[in-house]
Symmetry: C2
Subunit: 434 residues, 2 copies
């Protein structure tokens, strides 16, 4: 079957899935979780085949590590599905209800987006996570995995699609694109795919963003900053910056650049260096930084680099404005935090920094769907439309306007026989319960 035909089928099934109720979707999710547990030996066997082949082909060790999908990982995705079942269905929520005139009722009601295209590199847990998030939010899904994980992806897709079918989910709501199908072909299918979610390295995500007309949900770089203001409590600043840099370095919300007010830098930087030296963090700094602590020089390139490693670039700035300008110039719109005891400066930082997540007196590492209390996370978006920051299920829905009348025509309002009343309604949308 051609990829286009496959996509057409998923789109058709997605239109049916959009109207499936919460109970059936949750039943399907439970069936998927059980099926993953029941067939874990098969999954592990398929994954071993992928790992063995990848090692033979000399795939880099970090990629092989990401590819690994063992009993622990299976238990994690199963736990994730049980949490997802408990979350509120994002579909069918009434966002606005207005009586336009007597008997003419307008409801703005959430609905699925349609078909989500998921493109992921080696990590097979991304397949399970995103497919189940799409199911809960009523979206069809086209799954495109890396060839290095083909056996694992095949068994996972088979389990998910089979279990959902058992629970009465429309056939074809999900499809796995086999390796023969080119990513580039998928990126052109804007007639069938409404949104693409790429999961993988920065370069991979940037390639997807640069090569498709389909909207992309996600982020490439996560160049996060901490700015330590003149008015900061130094103990608090030290604690926050160390956490933001070192708590887990290989993630998008770890801090990559520290900005320090020149008035506090002579007291703060030597203390910080001592702690970061113990944690084996490499520091590079601007010329003013290097007058205060002994570190290698930072280049222009450093301000634009997401290290994802035990490395931090440091710049001494003249004040809040320079910090904001630096972040808006070199940042990636992800997460930036000010450490200050001045509420006015905190407010100014939050108003003027053009990022999805702007923090005060806490670690950039909090920028995460689970920590925000969203339950499940599709990813973190640095886009400026649709959704931004950590994205939960609400990033997978849009809305429809539903208008119910009783023979209402526009001509009556055009010729002033009638006038609009626009009264706020309080009820949820329901046509059958009228």
């Amino acid at each position: 079957m051609s990829m286009e035909e496959l996509a057409r089928r998923v789109k058709k099934a997605a239109l049916e899935l959009a109207a499936v109720g919460t109970e059936r979707k949750n039943k399907a999710l439970a069936r998927i979780a059980e099926s993953l547990k029941e067939r874990k030996e098969e999954i592990i066997r398929a994954n071993r085949t992928d790992i063995a082949r990848s090692e033979e082909e000399n795939l880099p060790a970090p990629l092989v590590k990401r590819l690994k999908f063992d009993e622990g990982k299976i238990a994690d995705v199963v736990d994730g599905i049980y949490s997802l079942i408990k979350l509120e269905d994002p579909v069918g929520k009434t966002l606005l209800a207005t009586e336009l005139d007597d008997g003419l009722e307008l409801y703005k009601v959430t609905c699925p987006i349609g078909v989500i295209g998921v493109i992921f590199e080696s990590r097979p847990d991304a397949l399970v996570q995103i497919a189940t998030l799409c199911l809960k939010s009523g979206n069809g899904v086209l799954l495109k995995g890396g060839s290095e994980a083909r056996e694992t992806n095949r068994i996972l897709a088979e389990i998910i699609i089979g279990a959902a079918a058992e629970a009465g989910i429309p056939a074809n709501w999900a499809a796995l694109l086999e390796t023969r199908a080119d990513v580039n072909e998928m990126l052109k299918m804007d007639a069938y795919i409404d949104l693409i979610i790429p999961r993988g390295s920065n370069d991979f995500v940037r390639y997807i963003m640069d090569n498709s007309r389909i909207p992309v949900l996600g982020h490439a770089d996560g160049i996060c900053h901490c700015y330590v203001d003149e008015d900061a409590d130094l103990d608090l600043a030290l604690k926050v910056v160390v956490d933001a840099k070192t708590q887990y370095v290989a993630v998008c919300n770890a801090t990559e650049t520290l900005l320090v007010h020149e008035g506090i830098a002579p007291r703060f930087l030597p203390r910080l260096k001592k702690v970061l030296d113990e944690k084996k963090v490499e520091l590079v700094g601007c010329s003013k930084t290097r007058e205060l602590i002994s570190v290698a020089p930072a280049t222009e390139e450093d301000w634009r680099t997401e290290y994802l490693d035990y490395k931090l670039s440091v710049k001494v700035v003249s004040g809040l404005q320079e910090a904001i300008d630096h972040i808006n110039t070199y940042g990636s719109g992800h997460t930036d935090s000010i450490i200050t005891s001045s509420k006015g400066k905190a407010a100014q930082f939050m108003d003027y920094v053009d990022s999805g997540n702007v923090f005060c007196n806490c670690s950039t590492r909090f920028s995460d769907g689970f920590r925000y209390g969203f339950g499940a996370e599709v990813g973190i978006s640095t886009g400026k439309i649709h959704t931004r920051g950590p994205v939960g299920l609400e990033g997978l829905v849009i809305y429809k306007y539903r208008l119910i009348g009783n023979g209402h025509i526009v001509e009556d309002y055009a010729n002033r026989t009638r006038t609009f009343k626009h009264r706020k309604l309080n009820g949820e949308f329901s046509i059958e319960g009228e």
Copy 2:
């Protein structure tokens, strides 16, 4: 100045405008309205120059008509600005507030998108409408008009930018791109422009959508349907269909295709034809339609055509499912209405039709921001992400997550010293008022 330099300046000013309060923005809007009134003679003179030149250059008459910007049009845009002043500021609204843990407060607060690129054909009122909507929503704006309206656009932009500056709006928040600057160059500026709003013909909008990586808000075709169900009240159906087709034909929410249940077609179509004949509406129909009324045959192309004229294509269908399938195949996701007395069928239609606006027992012509009670309208979107249907000011904002702590670090939660509480907060975001 290069277009890139201009765009960079607008972006910088937009970051400042994002933090400007409601009062100052409204003051600037009032100043713009007054200034347009004070300088109406200049505007009319500039517009006459454009019209004379366009007539000399043999511009098609409908384009010359759209170009006209006389005293009445000026009064209309001025009225629009006064209405806009009365609307609630879409910026700074708290959408979600959660206490993640003691003293760690998360707020999801609306903010402007950034820089909006507006591209419009001859109609100069679009320049005033969109520029003032951008100002109210705190966005910078790059305005690109057609060369046929260059004198009118120049004076309008000068008035708007000058009046806003008098009220203390950051300089460079808006800029007019002169004709030398190519539309194609603008479409490439994704580093500075966050969203494009095109205003013009379907072909024009489609060209913009097909040639930019920047998200586009709007719609190309408006192929709207009425479906008259077997259970419809025929008098009601007649009234609604006639309004949907004829109340104003040259607009996106006019109905272009009528679908009729085969069980009711023999009674409905002859009656409908009689009324539409009187209104000089040309009918084309499928073979079953032509067995019932004498009309020319409809081709496959007719189902995909937005006539924007006194013309209607008619198809007899076997029932609700065929109607839904037809709409989801040939429609443009704009507005579709079912005429039925069955609540169950109405609910099914609204669930399964994949359009931004799904109606029951009323005219498709209601699909409009003013009729919906939104006050101002940016346009109507047929997109599946960000915003859909008639778009008011809320389509010009996104949000930021603002997190306020007191030295909170992620390590405390990773090592289970602390756990998240995720308590719902009821207050609006305010850091200075704490």
